[in-house]
């Protein structure tokens, strides 16, 4: 944890209220998200018990499984859930837009919008992943046939669960993580995992401190857990008596499960309200564009009759995926810092970024030592912040992201002042005279960082069917219906 965030936690504790750790919103909040709160049956291997789901705050739909150990009931639940999720994910395919690729030599099309799922916590994400796993290979004919919508639902849930692993993606979000990205509470991360307690710190009810409200929210009788695990006391005293009969009373079950889920439903929409109040970061839209690409690609994959996601990635796919995740994580971290001065402050604190004032500027300096003369202005920046960069390093400024600043020298000037001499290139137009405003002027406050948004080329991986034998050889092709007896 950064000192900055830790200090925010300390301040939150002292103030009795959560403190902001971001000045902008770092994720896309969809105008019509699908909120999904799953509950799992305790002890069963990821068997659903109930779900409250919907894209409208005023119209949550409750799905329940009266006999979670009964296979038919489970698949009826899956079919019902598919009846809500599939029309929702299909509702974004109406309009496409052309995107230039290959430096404008070609175009491809993507949908102008994409779906967005919200679950309460990482447990909810895991539940969707495993529920996707348990349904996507189901056969739609033969002895254990399920409706065609069930394996399709499984493939969509798997798609969302995979997307959630990609740093910066907003296709499947969880409320706890989304809030934690923007606020620091005065309690521990372990306690933050409980959505009700987390929200209590962020927006306590009038007349109460966040700490008081959070303690109250820990009582499962007052704030039922946000799932997927249920409160054991609820299981033992409410659910068990209702379920122990051969013919469970569905109406009664529906009622108690709704009561368990409705408080969390409210919290989910409050989470969305809180996040919507924050202005979106400048790079959020760009990341949502990538999400729309991913979505468009998957719709196309399905339309072309592509196979379901494999149980486990083959060696090549796993390596390529890991590489994508790593570069997404780096890109996301850099983008957040560029979008948000409060995030950038964490880098300033450790000397990977510094803010200072321009004291000298030679805006029309020409370097003519090479074949052609080039424009290479130099500026001197003086800062009182720690500077941990060496001559020869290349810096960037969020104010001028397309411009590079090469460090020529770093000199201590007095007790805690440092002079950094920089040579600029790029982002100044094509002429030998810099475009007005493209070179920082004397007196301007600038921020410079070693972080860079520069594109990093991906690794080269062989085709899956060229997987070397040392890595298990090519993965086997998918054969439908291979998992009939799985449950």
């Amino acid at each position: 944890m950064s000192t900055l965030t830790a200090l925010a936690r300390a301040q939150a504790y002292a103030d009795g209220r959560a403190q902001p750790i971001a000045t902008v919103r770092h994720l896309h909040v969809h105008p019509r998200p699908l909120v999904l709160i799953p509950l799992a049956m305790a002890g069963e291997a990821h068997a659903p018990l109930a779900a409250l789901v919907g894209a409208e705050r005023s119209a949550p739909r409750l799905l329940i499984v009266a006999q979670p150990r009964n296979r038919d009931h489970r698949f009826a639940f899956a079919a019902e859930l598919a009846g809500i999720v599939l029309p929702y994910v299909d509702s974004f395919t109406a309009a496409t837009e052309a995107v230039a690729v290959d430096r404008g030599r070609d175009v491809r099309h993507r949908f102008t919008d994409a779906p967005q799922l919200w679950v309460p916590n990482t447990g909810g994400v895991d539940f969707l992943r495993l529920f996707g796993r348990s349904t996507r290979f189901r056969s739609i004919d033969g002895e254990y046939a399920v409706p065609p919508s069930v394996p399709l639902l499984g493939r969509w849930l798997t798609f969302f669960a995979h997307a959630a692993e990609m740093p910066g993606s907003s296709l499947l979000l969880n409320a706890v993580q989304a809030l934690g990205l923007h606020w620091a509470t005065g309690q521990s991360g372990a306690e933050d995992a409980q959505l009700a307690a987390l929200l209590a710190w962020i927006s306590p009810p009038p007349g109460r401190t966040g700490a008081e409200a959070a303690r109250a929210a820990e009582d499962p009788a007052l704030s039922p857990p946000a799932g997927p695990a249920t409160d054991p006391a609820f299981d033992n005293h409410v659910l068990a008596p209702l379920m122990s009969t051969a013919e469970p009373d569905v109406a009664a079950l529906t009622e108690v499960l709704r009561a368990q889920l409705l408080p969390t439903w409210e919290l989910m929409w409050r989470t969305l309200d809180l996040l919507r109040e924050l202005p979106a970061g400048a790079r959020v839209a760009g990341r949502w564009d990538s999400d729309r690409d991913t979505y468009s690609g998957f719709v196309q994959h399905l339309a072309e009759g592509g196979p379901p996601q494999p149980r486990r990635d083959g060696a090549v796919a796993a390596a390529a995926r890991l590489h994508r995740l790593e570069s997404a994580a780096t890109r996301y971290a850099v983008q957040r810092a560029f979008d948000d001065p409060l995030v950038m402050a964490e880098y300033r604190l450790v000397g990977a970024a510094f803010a200072g004032e321009v004291t000298l500027a030679n805006a029309d300096r020409i370097d003519d030592t090479g074949k052609r003369p080039v424009l290479r202005p130099r500026i001197m920046v003086v800062t009182g912040e720690p500077v941990r960069v060496e001559p020869g390093a290349t810096l960037t400024s969020p104010q001028r992201p397309s411009q590079k600043a090469l460090v020529i020298s770093v000199t201590a000037a007095g007790a805690d002042r440092t002079e950094v001499l920089l040579e600029l290139s790029g982002g100044m137009g094509r002429k030998l005279v810099a475009e007005p405003g493209s070179v920082p002027a004397v007196g301007e406050r600038v921020l410079l960082t070693t972080l860079s948004e520069a594109y990093r080329p991906g690794g080269a991986f062989p085709d899956p069917d060229q997987t070397p034998w040392t890595h298990g050889g090519p993965p086997p092709a998918f054969t439908p219906g291979s998992e009939q007896a799985d449950q």
Partner: protein
Amino acid sequence: MTAGLDRLRGGTPPKRHNARTIAALTGNPGCTRRAVLDAAGVDKPKLAQRIGFPGSFGQSRFALARGNGFEAMLKADDCALLRKVLTECLQLDAAGGYDDLGEDDDDTLTARHRRTRELLAGAAGAALIDHPLLTLDVAGQRVFLEPDLIALQIEGRLHVVEIKSFAIVDGQADSAKVSAAAVQAAVYVLALRRLLAELGHDPTLVSHDVVLVCTENFSLQPAAVVLDVRKQLSTLQRQLARLASVSELAAALPGSVSFDLALGPADLTAALRHVEARYAPECLSACELAVYCRHEAAGSTAALGRPVRDALGGVDTVAEALALAAGTAEPAEDQVEAAALLRAAARLRAELA
């Protein structure tokens, strides 16, 4: 048990240990309070309740029912299914006898332990020994362990078999559950090894490879995996060794300190304050006293979690950290660097947040 520890508990009989409670000892090894209470066999959940800070460590009936059902299925027909999955997993033939030493019952403790010793001393042929009764020395006291375990004696070696009803999906399981199972299994391995040593056998006949039998994917079909618990064993041994010194600690406590549950809440709380705690948020899921200790630790940086405390330069209290950040407190010699960082952070937050 030493007299010093016994006295702490007052009139109540000691709470019995099982692998779960012993495994939990490794949870917060730095905490003296827990070590003393556990060594003295104090009923922590009752204590927490008595002082008005009950925890919620309930277990769902559904989870218990499924666990029992799974175990019964494995053991049906002379352990047919269990033998099958063990044979596949260990690549050894798990045929041979099956001895069930019986259910949890206080009256038969010694008899069961004797039977266990006999069976293990015999050490001939392959055999499944269910509910063996083991003992382990915890803080100078000999505790009976009532393992829900099967010891598989095969080709002269003993393997601990743990049955858990959580699922392994596509070769992967919840890592928290697997590591909890590994620590528990390590407790059994240790107890079995000590028993063999007492019987004059080579303790390493008990393998550090334990077998975890779980459910597979979304079915009730069993899947077995081998876990190497060497790491857990050494942690456990270290913690048990540390606990052994606890009796001295307990003896040094003032004579008035007692956790006799017949005492009033105020007296019990006062007694607790005599024994140092080391609260961390992890306690919330590991120790029944956590709600009380959290309350007591309010205002400490440790209560916000180790990463927060470290990032605040290891300063003890929130108030102190904030004072250093605001520049209103003079840093101690070893705090100078941390204080400078906190001041810089405070300036940045004031500028931007």
